[in-house]
Each structure stands twice: as structure tokens, then as C-alpha cells.
Point group: C2
Chain length 386, copies 2
């Protein structure tokens, strides 16, 4: 078991992961470092803002620079200069996102490289081999995603193939000191999600991820799927909700018993000038910030908020300066980690439901689809269970 | 007098500038921060790599964000978070570089904004006013540049207008605690350069810049112009060669008695993967670096060379990652400052001629136009006076 439970509050779990490259306090948010770099940020800066673990993308790294180049450095840690834990995705979601340029069979996936159009094949075994070459602390099973909407029979058939692939991944991973997570599938169908989780539990993994969400479904559909998956998941293992989400999404999902998250939102949005603050979202390119001498977020102690005015950040973003992308990214990542700290503190203080209510109904939850669905309802109603 | 001489060696001068925001050891190289940021680098990083002063572009900043916005912060130092000295150019060279989109008269220059095409007018007085709003430590006179090639009569007329403008700048600058530098003009004509310097000296400035070089002329032509200007410059004031150059150019020009430089070369080239090292230029995007585990420059102690392999830098540049631009820029700026340190050490040790010879004939001088002209010649020949 890699997961140590510490406390629980209103469905939320406080815990700790023991990984080869160190401990991760959960619930945890993982910044995304697609190509062996969290875009615009150094490992030292990630360390300073408290990122406990970062995510690397297997498919991207096998195309550029190639797993062999990373392996020659000793692994992804040495390649990118990051000595804390790394989780790598399997490439399954990335292959799915290529849409027309992929061809799936029981063996695996053939796809065209988005870099140069060259043809590649990725199987469950191949994905595990690449992730071993990257030497990630947490290896993900290679899985198949489904579109939304999808017929239930197709969702079931796809999920069952993912379960067969999960078994092949488990076999291939044998003997590695790194953790291996299974990925739950089943689209929006609660019974398929439960069946998938039961199949994964039978195979036995170090952790259980929920994949194939945020593919276009509504938040209530997503909630049903996640709840069904979590309800069937073993309590003694970490649960990872892949590719989610806004700060409000994280606060909600922690209340459903999720322990881990990753998302490009803080980094990608930062580069577009879309910034998360304690007072809500700030679109820094808007003219209203042109001569605003105040800090971006007066309640934030990140280097961006402590060193620069909104007018300066506005100016940098308008001029498309690299430093603007840097400072914006640093702030958003800092903010996300501070939300995770507050989440962990609320669980430790056993007041998660009231923290969640305040968060979702306050400025930080405003504008979030999740908060729209679940944040405005009153305590005691059915929906507030979310 | 803002310039304290310390030592001299073979025509090179070691000294110190006293400016409002601090001291600058000379010879000094100033990184260029066009829009209130040295592209991709924070003030903390500039401090760590030993940049003693940075340059801001008056014309760019008056267009974006506007001098009034910078002034509301208290000046450019506060706006960009840099508390050491700043030199601002006057906009003269920038107006010249707009070519067809400018219209010059005795009053000043009308030009179309490269940002949005709007019409603007910049006069000597207007330039000084903007630079006062920016509160730069070193204010530059507004001048007119000439094309290359140019008829001598036209070069003379333009130079004389620049001298009249210099006088207007001196008048407008009166009462400011900041330094004001005159700008020498005269294209490639030694007598015009001498005449211009005499006119500037008559007006009286805190320092003397050599402008209008590197506009297409050959290195021997440039050398003649610079030598003529320096020969006529007062010894008790700093001399600033604007917009120059490669490391070899700096080493050469210091030997002609130049004290200050600025150039976009280390930053712009870095973003294109063109890196300066102790072993010569490295084009990091070249395939030969794809699986090279060695550092970019084994003789460099910058964060890039101490933390990452050539293969990683190659990968980042190929993927157009922001971190690649950052790490490359940091290295090139670090390298330029280390060249300045070595220059100052060689003057202090009174061995400048032998340092210069070794530099220009070694790998660091290789490929430089300046070194081609002056580096290969033997000690004792006429050309080695350069």
C-alpha cells in the first residue's frame, strides 16, 4: 500500500502517498509538464510554490525527444532536473484526442504523429515500456477513451477492452519499484463505472484513476460517473480524477473522495491572461487593468503578486512578453497549490462541508460550471451531498 | 563628473560610473529591456548574473504602456521591479529604423506607430520629457541617424541637426539629478565624427555615446569612425558605443577606449537557439546536440549550464518551449557578463593586449566579423592597434 490515510471530513480524505522520489500530501494537484517542462517554469520555482509531483505526457515524450534520449539521462527526473515525484499518463487519452488520425485494435493503437505525420504504434506493453524508460514514480495503464455522447453498448465494449489492457499493463509492469495505477472507464454510465472499478480491483493496482471524464458531458452526468467509480474503489488506495479541473471542480471532487488531480488549466489559462485569484477570475488583458497599480491578488504571496502591479502584468500580456507568461503561470500554479493547502487544512480541521460551501458560493466558485450546478444549493438538500 | 577612472591598459579603461540608482563598473554591458522587461528574465535573475544596468527603449515604452502609466508607478524602476540603474535610449534610432514611416523636420520626428499605425510626434524636448517620466539614470539625447551609404554632405547636415537637438536636450534636462549623454554622429566620416564630438563637448554632457554605427558599414569603416570619435572625446567622461555587439566586438572596442555597450544580440540570439560559449557559438537546435548529455558550456557556472544537458536544451528549443527561451537567454546574458568580468580583470592586470589577442584568435572570436578583420593579425602590425 502506497497510501496512508490521515483524516477524513464530510467525504473528503486527507492522506499521504509514499512514492520512490518522495512523499505527496493528498489531496494533491499535479501541474502538467507535457514535454518535460511545466511550460515557462523551472523545477526550482515548482519546488518553491509547493508542487509535490508533476505530470509528464508519455505520448509527447516518446515522439519528442524520444524515450531513449530521456533514458540516456537516467530518466525524466534527470532530463528535466526535477527530483520529486513524477506521474506519467499512458498516452491513451492523447491517442483518443487525435480523433481521425488513430486506428484502434485489440493489440493497441496506430496513430499519426501530430509533429510530423509519421505513423506510430502504442500498445499497453509499449506504453509501460516507455513509462519505465521515463522512470516515472506513478505509471498509468494504457486505456481507451470514448466519445460523448456514446451508445451504452459501445461504452461497455470499450471499457472491457480497457480492462483487458489493464491486465496486460499489470503483467508488463511486474518487478518495477514504481507504482502502477489502473484507469476506470465507462463514460457516463454508473453501472459500467462500477463494473470497471470492480475489474480493476480484481487485477489489483497501487491506485485507481477515473478517466474519460470532461469529454463533453454535463456536470451532473460527470458527478454520477465519478460517484459510482469512487463508491466501488478500495478505500486503502489513492483515487485520481484525471484532467480536472477548475478550483471549484477540485473542491467539489475532493468532497467525493478524490485524492489526486492534474489539469493544464492553471498553466494554459495563465498564458492566455486568464488568472485565478482569491477574489475570482481576472482577465489581465482587459483594459480595466491598464493603469491599476494594485497587485493581481492581494491575498496571494507569490512572487508575481508581491513584485508587480496589475498594470505591469497587463502590459506584458498585451506585448506578448515571455515574462508575462512566466509571471502569470507562476501565480496560477501558486494559487492552485494554495487551494490544495486550504482543502487539506479544512479536512484536518474536520470542517470540509462548510469550507466547500463557502468556497463554491464565494467569488472563487463564481463562474464555475461545477459551482453553478452544486454551489448554490442549500445545506441539507440532496445536491449538497456533492 | 560621474566617471571615476581606476586603471588603463593598452587603450582599455577600467572605471566606475556613479548613477542615482547605484554604481556601474566599466567596461559594462547593458542587457536590453525594450518593453520594461529583458525578454524572458526577471530582475532577480539579472541581479544574480551580474547585470549592473539595463537599457529601456523610450519609443516603445511611450507607445506601450505609455509614459504616464510608467510614471504613475514612480518610474521604470518601480514598474519593472528593478532597483539598479537604467539607461534609456532617446527614440532617435528607433524612429530612423521605421524608414518609410517617418517624417523628419527641424522640430522633430513624426512617425507611425508600428503597434497600431497611429501618428506620433517626438521632439528633442518630448524625448527628454518621456525619459524623465521613466526616471532613467542615464538619459540619452534625441538624435538623427543616417543611412549607409550616405553622401558626406547629407551626413554632415544630419550630424549638425543632431548637435542642435543635443543642445535643446541639454536645456530641457536642466535640473534633473539623472545623467545626460550626448550622441556622436557623422556616419563613417572621421572628420565629421571629430567635429560632432567637439560640438558635444562644447555643450557639455555627463557621457558621450557613439551612435549611428552598425547601419551596414564594414568593420574597417566602423573602426575609423569609432576611433575618430573616441580620440575627440574627453577622457574624464564615459564613452558608450550604442548597439554593439558580438563578444569579439566588445573586446575590440574596449581596446579603443569604450566603456559601455548595449545590444539585443545575447537575448535575441538566445531565443533563436544561437548560444555563445567559451568554446565558440553553439546552435543548439542542430541535430548533433540531440543526444548530447554534456552541459552547454563546461566552463560556465550559470544555472543553465549547471542544471541541464545540451540534449534537454535542444529538446526545449525544438519544441519551442518557453523554458528553452528562458534558459538560453539566461546563459547568453551570463556569458556576456563573464566576458565583461574578464575584460575588467585583464585591464586591472595590465595585460589587455594579450587578453584581446588570445580572445580574438581563440574559439570565442571565431566567426566574428570584427575578429576576421582584426583578430588574425600579428602583434606589432598596424592593425593590431585595434
Amino acid at each position: 500500500m502506497i497510501y496512508d490515510p490521515i483524516a477524513a471530513s464530510d467525504g473528503a480524505r486527507l492522506g499521504r502517498l509514499r512514492l520512490v522520489h518522495g512523499m505527496v500530501n493528498t489531496p494533491a494537484f499535479m501541474p502538467v509538464g507535457t514535454y518535460g517542462t511545466v511550460k515557462g517554469v523551472t523545477p526550482d520555482e515548482l519546488d518553491a510554490l509547493g508542487a509535490p509531483i508533476v505530470l509528464g505526457n508519455t505520448l509527447h515524450l516518446m515522439l519528442r525527444p524520444g524515450a531513449n534520449i530521456v533514458a540516456r539521462h537516467g530518466g525524466l527526473h534527470e532530463f528535466m532536473g526535477w527530483d520529486r515525484p513524477i506521474l506519467t499518463d499512458s498516452g491513451g487519452f492523447q491517442v483518443w484526442s487525435l480523433a481521425a488520425n488513430r486506428d484502434l485494435s485489440e493489440d493497441g493503437a496506430t496513430f499519426a504523429s501530430p509533429v510530423d505525420g509519421s505513423r506510430h504504434f502504442l500498445s499497453p506493453e509499449g506504453s509501460i515500456d516507455v513509462q519505465r524508460a521515463l522512470n516515472s514514480d506513478v505509471v498509468m495503464c494504457f486505456d481507451e477513451c470514448t466519445d460523448f455522447p456514446v451508445a451504452k453498448a459501445a461504452a461497455a465494449a470499450s471499457m472491457k477492452r480497457s480492462m483487458r489492457w489493464a491486465e496486460r499493463c499489470k503483467t508488463r509492469h511486474a518487478g518495477s519499484p514504481n507504482a502502477l495505477f489502473g484507469i476506470n472507464q465507462g463514460n457516463i454510465f454508473a453501472d459500467l463505472r462500477a463494473e470497471s472499478m470492480a475489474a480493476l480491483t480484481d487485477i489489483g493496482f497501487d491506485g485507481y484513476a477515473i478517466g474519460g471524464v470532461s469529454v463533453g458531458e454535463s456536470w451532473p452526468d460527470k458527478a454520477v460517473a465519478i460517484e459510482a467509480a469512487v463508491a466501488a474503489a478500495p478505500v486503502q488506495a489513492p483515487r485520481y480524477l484525471m484532467g480536472v479541473g477548475t478550483p471549484a471542480d477540485l473542491v467539489l471532487a475532493v468532497g467525493w473522495g478524490i485524492d489526486m488531480f492534474d489539469c493544464v488549466m492553471p498553466t494554459r489559462n495563465a498564458r492566455n491572461g486568464y488568472l485565478f485569484t482569491h477574489r475570482g477570475v481576472v482577465k489581465i488583458k482587459n483594459a480595466v487593468h491598464r493603469d491599476d497599480l494594485s497587485p493581481l491578488d492581494a491575498d496571494c504571496c507569490c512572487p508575481t503578486c508581491c513584485g508587480y502591479s496589475r498594470a505591469y502584468l497587463h502590459h506584458l500580456s498585451r506585448c506578448r512578453e515571455i515574462l508575462g507568461a512566466r509571471l502569470n503561470t507562476l501565480h496560477n500554479l501558486w494559487y492552485y497549490q494554495s487551494v490544495m493547502q486550504r482543502i487539506r487544512a479544512a479536512i484536518a480541521d474536520d470542517c470540509y462541508a462548510s469550507f466547500r460551501h463557502a468556497f463554491l458560493t464565494g467569488p472563487e466558485g463564481s463562474g464555475s460550471h461545477a459551482a453553478e450546478y452544486f454551489g448554490g444549493v442549500q445545506e441539507g438538500s440532496a445536491a449538497v451531498a456533492y
